[in-house]
């Protein structure tokens, strides 16, 4: 089998992967870097992010304030040492990206502009109109083109990590254009392949967000952390699930129920003011807003639509000029995908699965329990987002932890010997497995029905509000799907750009991720942030101020353990939004 060898290998070419690749080259220009992605990097889902990236730069802001907002927003499940490192490096990374050409929006005097965002006391969200992720991704991608040591393997699907002697030493990947299975050795591997929102049927996520990186690490024995925390973004378009950015609310949008009433005031989120008030009402944290929607809907006060219950996002009072200047993409999306002009009409929205706070367990350098394996971005869980991520922290997280993982991996790789030849046998095993279990598979089951059944089970059992019965039902259904998956059959047995093979492999990853989410959700018998259990409605800091860690086992149920959260300066307190509190 053909093989190549690099020093550091990135799985995934989105914001975190590209930032890590640059960090490796900057740390040690002599190292060869491989960026292996199942899509061309400019297609990565980072590009769909809209709102902004947080970094404390205003004179009235402080690192402590950013840290406190993040930690309280995360319901105190965040590792505070990681958050402290994160908020400190945030402004520097954002300025570095500006130096690399990112077109941040500006104040009239030429300095960076910031906008308020959900859950943040002070304006600290940098933005590039409302296509921040798009501009960040393209700035990063175009910058990587100037580093000769970075080699790209575009449209290569990684199927397995190569592990020997307790060290990760490379990957096996399929070159999609030809179907050839390739071995890519590396002295360090950084997984930056994004989250797994496609375990749910209704999500802002692109088709490619299938949790492949999480599954890779999971199969290599690395635990997945805090998987039960799935964020529902409060404002997604019905039917498509397309994201309407939080910036629409930050600029002053209102959420109205069927009576035209700003219902968030009934949910301890403050009193309605005509202008947006930070950390209040529509600028509250995402989990509380999504939960408020569910309650409104149960009370029969949501708006009925052909696609289920929705509420209205009203930005008409902002005026056409402001909308076209600050949130033009929102208008474009509404016109195109909802046939609604937000200048004149209200936008129908409902909560939609958006982000996974959980992921591969890493430390604050991005290292996992497996030597030589690092992770950064949405696929990783450091954990700085806790039980609920604040908007605009994720884009910054890509930069900060992408860079940290890159630097750590570069140092590690420089000290390693060449990968061992014994791994070729593992790679050949993998090639055989791919052929017999997938490429040649001709069982009676089909990918699409299995995927849809799993997604429906997840929505029913692991939605915004969960209970033991619903979760157990979902576990049973997903186990059933997994069992039938063994008898999968393909229409396409060819090798050349076989996208059906890709969807089967992605379904395999999705099943792993879904199982991890359900098992973690069952084990955490409390409600915190985005994980709400109607059978355990209270937050339990005595037992559960801890991260869940789920380990894969070959037989039977995976095992779930807990490890305590790192608390440095901020003891757990009450999450207060919209009213004055003594400790805010």
């Amino acid at each position: 089998m053909d093989s190549v060898i690099h020093d550091v290998l990135l799985v995934g070419g989105g914001g975190a992967g590209l930032r890590a690749a640059i960090a490796v080259s900057e740390t040690n220009p002599g190292l060869s870097v491989a960026v292996v992605s199942k899509v061309y990097p400019m297609r990565s889902h980072t590009g769909a992010a809209e709102g902004g990236a947080a970094g404390a730069v205003r004179p009235e802001d402080s690192l402590e304030a950013h840290a406190y907002d993040t930690i309280s927003g995360g319901a105190w499940l965040c590792d505070q040492d990681a958050v402290e490192a994160f908020v400190e490096e945030a402004p520097k990374e954002l300025i570095q990206l500006e130096h690399w050409g990112c077109p941040w929006s500006r104040q009239p005097d030429g300095h960076i502009a910031t906008r308020p965002f959900g859950g943040m006391k002070i304006e600290r969200t940098w933005y590039a109109a409302d296509k921040t992720g798009f501009h960040m991704l393209h700035a990063l991608f175009q910058t990587t083109l100037r580093y000769p040591p970075i080699t790209r393997y575009d449209e290569f699907f990684v199927t397995r990590l190569l592990v020997d002697n307790g060290r990760c030493q490379g990957v096996v990947a399929i070159e999609l254009a030809s179907g050839r299975v390739q071995t890519l050795f590396a002295k360090a591997v950084i997984v930056c392949s994004g989250g797994g929102g496609k375990i749910f049927p209704f999500t802002t996520n692109a088709n490619i967000k299938t949790g492949d990186g999480m599954a890779l690490a999971y199969h290599a024995g690395v635990p997945l952390k805090d998987m039960e925390f799935v964020q529902y973004h409060p404002t997604g378009l019905p039917f498509t699930g397309i994201l309407i950015t939080e910036a629409a609310r930050a600029e002053g949008g209102w959420l109205l129920n069927k009576d035209g009433y700003r219902y968030l005031q009934d949910y301890d989120l403050g009193t309605p003011e005509p202008k947006p008030v930070k950390r209040s009402m529509e600028l509250g944290p995402r989990d509380r807003l999504s939960q408020a929607f569910v309650k409104e809907s149960q009370a029969g006060r949501a708006v009925s639509s052909p696609y289920g219950d929705v509420v209205h996002l009203d930005i008409r009072h902002l005026g056409e000029a402001e909308i076209d200047k600050k949130i033009p993409f929102v208008r474009e999306l509404c016109l195109k995908y909802q046939k609604v002009d937000p200048v004149h009409d209200m936008i129908p929205v409902r909560p939609v699965v958006h982000y996974m706070m959980g992921g591969i367990d890493t430390d604050i350098q991005g290292a996992t329990a497996l030597d030589g394996l690092y992770a950064a971005g949405e696929v990783a869980c450091v954990n700085i987002n806790g039980a609920n991520r604040l908007g605009s922290n994720s884009l910054t997280e890509l930069l900060v932890f992408g860079a940290r993982a890159g630097r750590a991996a570069a140092q590690f790789a420089a000290a390693q010997p060449a990968p061992s030849a014994a791994l070729i046998a593992q790679a050949e095993d993998e090639e055989r497995r791919l052929k017999t279990e997938f490429l040649d598979a001709s069982g009676p089951e089909r990918v699409a029905p299995l995927r849809k059944e799993m997604q429906a089970a997840m929505e029913a059992g692991a939605g915004i509000y969960r209970n033991a019965e619903g979760l157990n039902d979902a576990v049973e259904t997903v186990n059933g799907v997994r069992e039938r998956f063994q008898r999968i059959g393909l229409d396409d047995h060819s090798r050349t750009f076989n996208t059906e093979l890709v969807s089967v492999l992605e379904l395999s990853s999705l099943l792993d991720v879904a199982g991890a989410v359900l098992d973690s959700a069952l084990a955490r018998t409390e409600s915190r942030g985005a994980h709400q259990r109607t059978d355990y409605p209270d937050r339990d800091d005595d037992e559960f101020l801890a991260h869940s860690l789920v380990y894969r086992s070959d037989d039977g149920a995976p095992r779930v353990e807990f490890k305590p959260v790192t608390v440095t300066k901020w003891p757990p307190g009450e999450r207060v939004y919209g009213r004055k509190a003594s400790d805010v």
Binding site: V39, Y40, M42, R43, S44, H45, G47, A48, K92, I95, Q96, E98, H99, W100, G101, P103, W104, S105, R106, Q107, P108, D109, G110, H111, I112, K131, F134, H135, H138, Q142, T143, L145, R146, D154, A177, A206, N207, I208, F239, T240, I242, L243, L333, K336, Y337, R446, V447, A448, L490, D491, D492, S494, R495, T496, F497, N498, T499, E500
Partner: protein, 253 residues
């Protein structure tokens, strides 16, 4: 909208197929898919793949017009399939083909490697004589300076412009609309100092001078980048630079 227009139950898609392991020439497969007014072409393709023929290969990801993966020809027009309603192509049959100008690997998937190389060639990054350290903060840029290049930074690399450009088809060496627009994006960025470096690449015969201003690229661009405008502006500035260097050889450009 006329009252006699009835909403059909189904619509036919004629889809380009190319299976190099099975055939040496492409064919067309006909599929009947349900019609929904809110469906885009992409939804119809997904229906085909999920329910009718799992072997149909095509690219897609974001389904919201920002990743640039899903460019294809619909009835001969280059479009983003995630942003084109089936309704706009009624009554059908709707012909779906891969973008022109690129060799077809399989079904609706073309190889864009040529574009990726050209993208690197135009040096699409911020070039400065001296980098300011991060500690010193951001380069100042007024909103007006940002507006100078903003439009050209909106390119999603969907390559509909390459598909529309007859020059690219007839002369594949041509650098092409998106690459030149991206070069302009950096040339016009007030923080950039690399215009001269890019000029060497772009003022070749295959660079801006390959363009004969057909203008189709701007017509099909889904993001309003106006690559044709970018190229013509560049021609004007390149010509002026040339004359300046002739007339005033001693002044630094």
């Amino acid at each position: 909208m006329s009252e006699t227009l009835t909403v059909p139950e189904t619509v036919i898609l004629e889809v380009f197929r190319y299976r190099p392991e099975v055939e040496s020439e492409p064919t067309f497969d006909s599929f009947e898919v349900p019609f929904h007014p809110e469906w885009m072409i992409l939804d119809a393709l997904n229906y085909i793949k999920d329910d009718l023929d799992g072997s149909l290969s095509y690219r897609w990801a974001c389904r919201m017009g920002v990743c640039g993966s899903c460019g294809m020809l619909a009835n001969g027009q280059p479009v983003l399939t995630c942003a084109t309603y089936l309704e706009s192509l009624l009554p059908g049959p709707i012909r779906i083909e891969p973008l022109e100008g690129f060799p077809v690997i399989r079904d609706l998937v073309g190889d864009i490697g040529d574009f990726m190389n050209k993208l690197s060639d135009v040096k699409p990054w911020l070039i400065r004589d001296e980098e300011k350290p991060v500690e010193d903060g951001e380069y100042l840029q007024t909103p007006s300076q940002l507006a100078d290049y903003k439009q050209y930074s909106m390119c999603i690399n969907c390559m509909l412009c390459y598909s529309a450009c007859p020059v690219y088809r007839l002369e594949p060496e041509f650098i092409g609309p998106a690459a030149i627009a991206l070069a302009q994006r950096y040339n016009l960025d007030s923080r950039d100092e690399g215009a001269e470096e890019r000029m060497d690449v772009l003022s070749q015969h295959d660079g801006i001078w390959g363009c004969t201003l057909v203008g189709e690229c701007t017509e099909v661009c889904p993001k309003g980048v106006d690559p044709a405008g970018a190229i013509q502006r560049y021609k004007v500035s390149a010509t002026m630079d040339y004359f300046k260097s002739l007339l005033m050889p001693r002044s630094s450009s």
